[in-house]
Symmetry: C2
Subunit: 570 residues, 2 copies
């Protein structure tokens, strides 16, 4: 490709966005923002995206059949699973004006995911035990009604994704395929150049199972996820599910003091409260009041400095859905205004769940359940009956221990590049999809789903591989392998030499971007080259004589080489 | 690919749809209808679509840069061109439920075409004369709010398309690129296996130019378009724009008869009327009353048996838009109820346009502009002043002559596979996109757009290439080159031979679909093979001995060959 003919050239002085990938991909001429969360992939970006998707496709072909499902789907499909009215990123289409409305007034769902399409599709074609297991995948554009989108390609209203769905006649078969898919995923990330830093983390399995799902996370300073690693078992947990044991607090108290109610009007945050009471934050208690879908009132208490993990709480409580109680409800349950809830003197009908971080404290604080008042020097066994059980209902944080091994977690920032999810019978059941077994009986079908955000990966690679001058593409996904720069091109013999080398490389099927501009300065060309980030730079100029200057994007060293050496150096 | 592992096998007894392509593509396991006009491409269909799109991409790369523009666009872009409120196939997105609405209530346009995206995109990157001309293209999914969709892949609510947009600093440069694009398009259709039957036809240039656009039409019995060919100039016209001269009518009348008003209550269609009056249809006159956007009332008259071509009429009248008058307006203009309008005694304010088919008739009929009455034996020069001018304002029909050459057209059915369209300054002007010339002055930019419906082409190929047993794919787009059938596979040695051949073909990079089913009958396998339509069938069975039976899908002949001969026979 001649750089002079490339649409969307690098812009050294391009705008700086909220995220590294949005800034560098736009400076480099890979993407262009149409609106927040929606981009045009320019020619260089299209090349990178195609490379990523081709690698994904090659590996997926080993474990599934490629299809392309539509983006538009009748409401009926989404009504069947009950998700039409509940999924908060779901969009639908509607005619844009009165003429369109007169022509066809039907509305359609614009799919953000395809369980609602793939399940009835599979049902139409495969019902005999003989044809199981099987898996279908597609690589296509997905749509999500995202509110604030500031992370470039990491989160979009419209993005590219590979989604695969597998179908099985038993849980065992699902599990075996699921394990196989992990290997294939790791191979894909290896081929994409991010294998060394990509790990499998346990994540939430959703509301219909107590199982984990699995996320493929690339360790990256700017990642939006937090991982907790137990080194002894080499297990990574996403923060949202990491089991946690709070480290013991340092306490100088040796015996119980007299309980006291302290007036502290308007003091509700634990940091502010600890300062006001002149006690460590660890001695405060955070109590939140929840309602469950089955009508129970719940108090959840964690040590000051922690947050309640609602997913953990919901599982412990044993209900389908949980939400913070309204101020009226809080008042009714505690007898006080919001902000003064505590574990002391709660109404009988309130079920209390104590986090394990509350254990082993002497003389702690808790809301007094009396407007404006906090109780201090509270103790279990004296002021509050010793709880029968302490739970883990908190969000893990740095410094926490894995309760199973007792070891302190290592904590990493990371970005999700893929996830796999055991769906079990959830969708097959909703559509009444069963298989006919050897014995002629209809039996349940188990499904899994397996996603990779291909455009997202493009963003993550940039977040991970760049320096202050621009992107540094792994060669597997680089738009070209060689960035050839011609300098002093107004000199006929040098121009000829540069164009000859370009032709030679093309003939050898080496992917090359040739900066053939005659009116751009050397500084401009080198700058653009660094922003774009192609793995190898070659320079031909007056200075290089019969040789060619060779430099890797990832290194500062240059050397003079002959044309014959090029293939070996790529 | 092992046929036993293929998702979406052929269904000989599959449903019959309104169109050949919908029926055969679904029987063959290429597509599956999700709703009218919206399909899943199954694995075989995805392969065919990819082959078509790769051919298109390879040729487009010679004349443009690939990009991928988003499907979602802010309203603003479409407001700029005024098309948000007028394009009747335009859809928008809106949150699908209350939770989605709470999250993000913004609506977006779902693009059916990308002039509104590509123009501001180009404007952001290219303004200097030095960087012109250039062209951008993409291959992606488009969305159209179609009301009734019954033609399989020929017309969909969601379909695949290649669209290219070119940008120029002069009309001459646009024209030169435009001519070049025709050659590239013809090469693409050649490579797709439909070159021999694909022609360029003149079509409407839209409301903003008197120029033609150009359609690439594949001659095909089931085609939904009609082409008129003037053999002497080898020019094809789409019916919608074909200039037409009506053949002279055979008339036994030699002199004028007395005019007469005949009562014929409720008789309004020309065929019914001619029968009632006992005159040839050619002696009746069809008069329609129109309103123009600039407030004029128009009467358009054509010979019985013809229809008014509103596009031709609009150009002759010299206005931007035209529509049939309301019944009230008709009554006001003619003094009679709808159905009795004629060219006699019209109100002064009505402008009358006479089609040339009305010339040279003696004693013709016309509506009397009097409710329930028709006038017969009407004559120009006696009952109606001889018109100053006759126009061509009718829809051409079989038997018509080309007015320029006087030759009778040949008429063909055809299906559109591509179109190219000179946009001139329409979109660049709307966005205020100008280029800076050598002299520092801002000057207008000329654009062209160039479309190919890639999924539509898949449908058209099937409409064209099939027999009563199934599809017959041209090899360039066939999902596989070889359909290998193993019979008698329960015999260990035959099974081994068949699997060995399959492996050998795979190693030689020959695309092969291997029907390895052990429980399917020979009849079933041959039937599926014919429906699917892969160019070459190979059979291994007890009967074939050391040889392999070879048969082309397009022929009934079989022969026994050795494995070594296969590559040469593909």
């Amino acid at each position: 490709m001649l750089y002079s003919k490339l649409f969307g050239k690098a812009k050294k002085a391009g705008k700086v966005y909220n995220s590294v990938n949005a800034t560098l991909l736009q400076k480099g001429g890979f993407i262009d923002q149409v609106m927040a969360g929606t981009y045009t992939y320019l020619t260089l970006g299209t090349k990178v995206l195609n490379k990523i998707e081709n690698i994904v496709r090659e590996e997926m072909d080993n474990i599934g059949c490629e299809v392309i499902m539509p983006s538009l789907t009748p409401f009926e499909n989404w009504n069947t699973t009950g998700r039409l009215e509940t999924v908060d990123i779901l969009m639908k289409t509607t005619p844009a004006n009165v003429f369109a409305k007169a022509k066809n007034d039907t509305e359609y769902v614009l799919n953000p995911t395809h369980e609602e399409v793939v399940t009835p599709l599979a049902q139409k074609f495969v019902t005999s035990y003989k044809d199981f297991p099987f898996a279908l995948y597609q690589i296509q554009t997905k749509f999500r009604n995202e509110p604030r989108v500031k992370s470039g390609l990491l989160r979009g209203r419209e993005f590219r994704m590979k989604d695969l769905y597998s179908f099985h006649t038993s849980v065992e078969d699902l599990k075996s395929y699921y394990e196989e898919s992990k290997k294939v995923y790791l191979k894909i990330f290896e081929r994409l150049g991010i294998g060394a830093d990509t790990v499998i983390a346990l994540a939430s399995g959703g509301s219909f199972t107590s199982d984990y799902s699995h996320e493929f996370q690339t360790i990256c300073e700017t990642g939006e996820d937090t991982l907790f690693l137990d080194k002894s078992t080499n297990t990574y947990f996403n923060k949202e599910v990491a089991p946690s044991k709070a480290p013991k607090i340092k306490d100088n108290d040796l015996k119980m003091k007299d309980r006291e109610d302290v007036e502290g009007k308007g003091i509700v945050g634990v940091t502010e409260l600890a300062e006001f009471l002149k006690i460590p934050v660890e001695k405060t208690t955070k109590t939140l009041i929840y309602e469950t879908d089955d009508g129970r009132i719940i108090a959840a208490a964690v040590r000051g400095g922690y947050d309640v993990n609602e997913d953990k709480l919901r599982k412990v409580v044993g209900c389908k859905a949980i939400k913070l109680a309204t101020p009226e409800m809080v008042e009714k349950a505690t007898g006080a205004k919001v902000g003064y809830a505590g574990i002391l003197n709660l109404k009988k009908e309130v079920e209390v769940y104590y986090d394990e971080s509350l254990e082993d404290r002497l003389n702690f604080e808790t809301g007094a359940n009396k407007t404006n008042f906090h109780s201090i020097n509270v103790n279990f066994g004296r002021d509050i009956p010793m709880p029968n059980k302490f739970y883990d209902i908190k969000v893990a944080k740095k410094g926490d221990l894995n309760p199973e091994t007792g070891l302190e977690y290592e904590v990493f920032k990371a970005s999700e590049v893929g996830n796999i999810f055991p769906l079990y019978t959830k969708f097959a059941e909703a559509f009444g999809y069963k298989f006919v077994d050897r014995d002629g009986q209809e039996k349940p079908i188990y499904m899994g789903c397996y996603g990779i955000g291909t455009s997202r990966i493009m963003g993550i690679i940039v977040e991970k591989y760049h320096d202050d001058r621009g992107i540094i593409w792994p060669k597997e996904v680089a738009p070209y392998q060689v960035h050839l720069i011609g300098l002093d091109l107004k000199d006929e013999s040098i121009r000829q030499k540069a164009h000859d080398l370009y032709e030679t490389l093309m003939k050898r099927k080496i992917e090359v971007l040739f900066d053939d501009r005659e009116d751009a300065s050397a500084g401009e060309k080198f700058g653009d080259c660094d922003i774009i980030g192609i793995p190898v730079r070659l320079v031909i100029s007056k200075r290089t004589g019969d040789k060619i200057e060779y430099k890797k994007r990832s290194s500062a060293d240059t050397k003079l080489i002959s044309a014959d050496e090029i293939p070996n150096l790529l």
